[in-house]
């Protein structure tokens, strides 16, 4: 666009309002976490305190829920990434005439409301475990992991598929020609190629699991995760300890994002340095020992 001054001002105004809407509520909540009154209050600031943070960490249910959420998140990563990988590989190999049907089935959980996934998981596994005599599997953690895995596996599949479509099959053929076995090709060629996609799928899987509420609240049965404890607390009434939790979560993720950015820049710089060194070495070699044709 080549906007005139009027359009420029209008857009700036719009952007300010947009980000005020986006970040304002969180900023307000963050301030209330440090203010002394019992009820989350922003103004007037009656005194700065960290009591709400200690109240948060002293909350046994909340801490137990946090542990449970971390545990479930790890299990979901362990299930969803392998399933997503398998789903993506099958997508590239399935017969073209049934591909769209397969796609419809495995992507449908992304477009299904979370509570429906939770309900259907509980209904099915209650019947199934009752009929097969595996009642021990009818457990909040198992059901939550299975329910969340339905759509989180689909996220993972979409991420992995995007990278898999750029995979050069001739690499695989070359390895096979040189005598590699199929498991070797899978382990030494395909998996390393997909590694960045697998890593981002794992991170996304963990985060989606950690903050999920709609599916979890049905599937968790009598257990509690951080989100379900939190929902109970919020329904009982407002306390600044809840705001404190939000501050902690934002702080942890911002620190994580910055650490990742630094790590990324360093490894990028290291890779660039390696490449430069290799180029220089190659040039030195070329100029030091001229090729026979030139001599």
């Amino acid at each position: 666009m080549n906007p005139g001054p009027f359009q420029r001002v209008m857009f700036a105004l719009y952007a300010v309002v947009f980000f005020l809407y986006l970040l304002g509520p969180l900023a307000v909540m963050a301030v209330s976490a440090f203010n002394t009154p019992q009820y989350p209050q922003v103004w007037p600031i009656e005194g700065v305190t960290l009591d709400w943070f200690s109240a948060l960490f002293a909350d046994q249910d909340m801490m137990a829920g946090l542990k449970m959420s971390l545990w479930i998140g790890l299990l979901v990563v362990c299930i969803s990434v392998p399933i997503g990988l398998a789903g993506a590989i099958i997508m590239t190999q399935i017969q073209p005439r049934v591909r769209s049907l397969y796609y419809l089935v495995v992507v449908s959980p992304v477009l299904t409301p979370g509570i429906i996934i939770g309900i259907s998981t509980v209904v099915f596994w209650r019947q199934f475990t009752g009929q097969t005599g595996t009642r021990f599997l009818y457990d909040g953690v198992v059901l939550t992991v299975l329910g969340q895995a339905s759509f989180i596996s689909a996220y993972c599949m979409l991420i992995i598929l995007a990278r898999l479509q750029r995979f050069d099959r001739s690499q695989e053929e070359a390895a096979l020609d040189l005598g590699a076995s199929y498991p070797q090709v899978f382990r030494h060629i395909l998996l390393p190629f997909l590694k960045p996609a697998l890593a981002s799928a794992a991170v996304l899987a963990f985060l989606s699991s950690f903050e999920n509420y709609n599916t979890t609240t049905f599937a968790i049965l009598s257990d509690k995760t951080l989100t379900t404890v939190l929902a109970g607390r919020v329904r009982q009434g407002s306390t600044p300890a809840i705001s404190a939790l939000a501050v902690v979560i934002v702080a942890v993720t911002v620190i994580g994002a910055i650490a990742y950015e630094i790590y990324k820049r360093r490894s990028d710089a290291a890779a660039a340095a390696r490449q430069r060194a290799a180029l220089e070495a190659e040039e030195a070699e070329l100029s030091g020992t001229p090729a026979p044709a030139m001599g």
Partner: protein, 336 residues
């Protein structure tokens, strides 16, 4: 009972057999070439692929959905009578949605019907509003922002989404409550004398719902507009097209898959939202998902809850189909 177990194990088996038969047939008729599935992947990896995807597609996705639909057509019975002579298919749960309890005198079950249509209607409105709010920013990010500014914008956009849905809704409660900062400002400026009950009037709920899924709209839009060649916009401007022509005839048609994908996601998430109605809804708030929740955990009537969930699912499917039809797209184009 044993009949349903045979189905649970028989269906996946039948489908797997069908796939291998199809593969064999295609190889014989020359449609497909090359080795078979296990030849191509090796036995161990081939087995892993089939088992992982089979378990996912059937035991995590399809069979639970079928079990839910099946349950929605059954009467509510104590466990001892399940599968007994009284366990017959019935439309009772759907009848209840329309007409309420058999003992009630009201003609229609207005409470639930109203909540349902309000949920669908408000979700559509919120979807449209979110599109209007997000489009200018998505366009700016995709077409005119510099790389450095884009990074900052992306970070600012993603930041609120690290915080989970319940906390985001809670933030609106802090903001809009009668002693909250908005009311303080309104009263301080003399616009009102007493606090406005934003939460009781469901303003908080609608704002919270719109806020909760902004990101699901902006990223598909951004991705779609980003792939548009800037020269096309330049060319149109050089040829004298006014700004709204450029958007209506160049950018919007190009961004069609992104618009459809953002709208479907936002609609589905809004209509299925549970956290925001629980946190921001008042006692008189009408929203469909808390009613479904109560069928399960207040009324303990699971078949009825399943029927309500199925009604919600069907309306979401209809919405997706209508959007696809209206935009003339296929499902694959919007779930990228």
């Amino acid at each position: 009972m044993s009949g349903s177990l045979a189905f649970v194990f028989g269906l996946p088996l039948a489908v797997v057999v069908f796939f291998f038969a199809l593969a064999a047939y295609e190889r014989r008729t020359g449609v497909a070439s090359g080795g078979g599935f296990f030849q191509r992947n090796g036995l161990a990896i081939g087995l892993y692929l089939v088992l992982a995807v089979g378990f996912w597609a059937f035991f995590i996705i399809l069979l639970p959905q079928l079990a839910m639909v099946d349950m929605s057509f059954r009467p509510k019975l104590p466990p001892s009578q399940m599968g007994g002579p009284k366990d017959l298919y019935t439309l009772e749960n759907y009848r209840y949605f329309l007409f309420g309890s058999t003992t009630s005198t009201a003609e229609w079950n207005w409470l639930h019907i109203k909540a349902f249509f309000l949920t669908i209607g408000v979700s559509i409105v919120i979807t449209l509003i979110n599109f209007a709010i997000c489009y200018p920013l998505a366009f700016h990010m995709a077409q005119s922002a510099t790389a450095a500014r884009l990074r900052v914008l992306l970070l600012l956009l993603i930041l609120p989404y690290w915080v989970n849905e319940i906390l985001r809704a809670f933030a609106f409660r802090v903001l809009l409550s009668s002693g909250g900062i908005i009311n303080q400002m309104l009263m301080g400026s003399g616009l009102t004398d007493e606090p406005i009950d934003f939460l009781g009037a469901d303003v908080g709920l609608y704002m919270g719902l719109s806020y909760a899924y902004l990101l699901m709209m902006i990223f598909p839009l951004y991705n779609a507009i980003e792939s548009l060649d800037k020269n096309q916009v330049e060319a149109a401007r050089d040829l004298g097209a006014p700004w709204w022509h450029i958007h209506a005839f160049i950018v919007l048609p190009h961004a069609k898959p992104g618009i459809a994908s953002g709208c479907t996601l936002v609609f589905m998430l809004t209509a299925g939202a549970l956290a925001a109605p629980l946190v921001l809804g008042g006692p008189r708030t009408l929203w469909f998902t808390p009613i479904v929740y109560d069928r399960f955990y207040q009324a303990f009537n699971w078949p009825q809850g399943a029927a309500y969930a199925f009604i919600l699912l069907v309306s979401c499917i209809i919405f997706v189909l209508v959007v696809l039809k209206a935009f003339r797209l296929s499902l694959g184009e919007i779930t990228r």
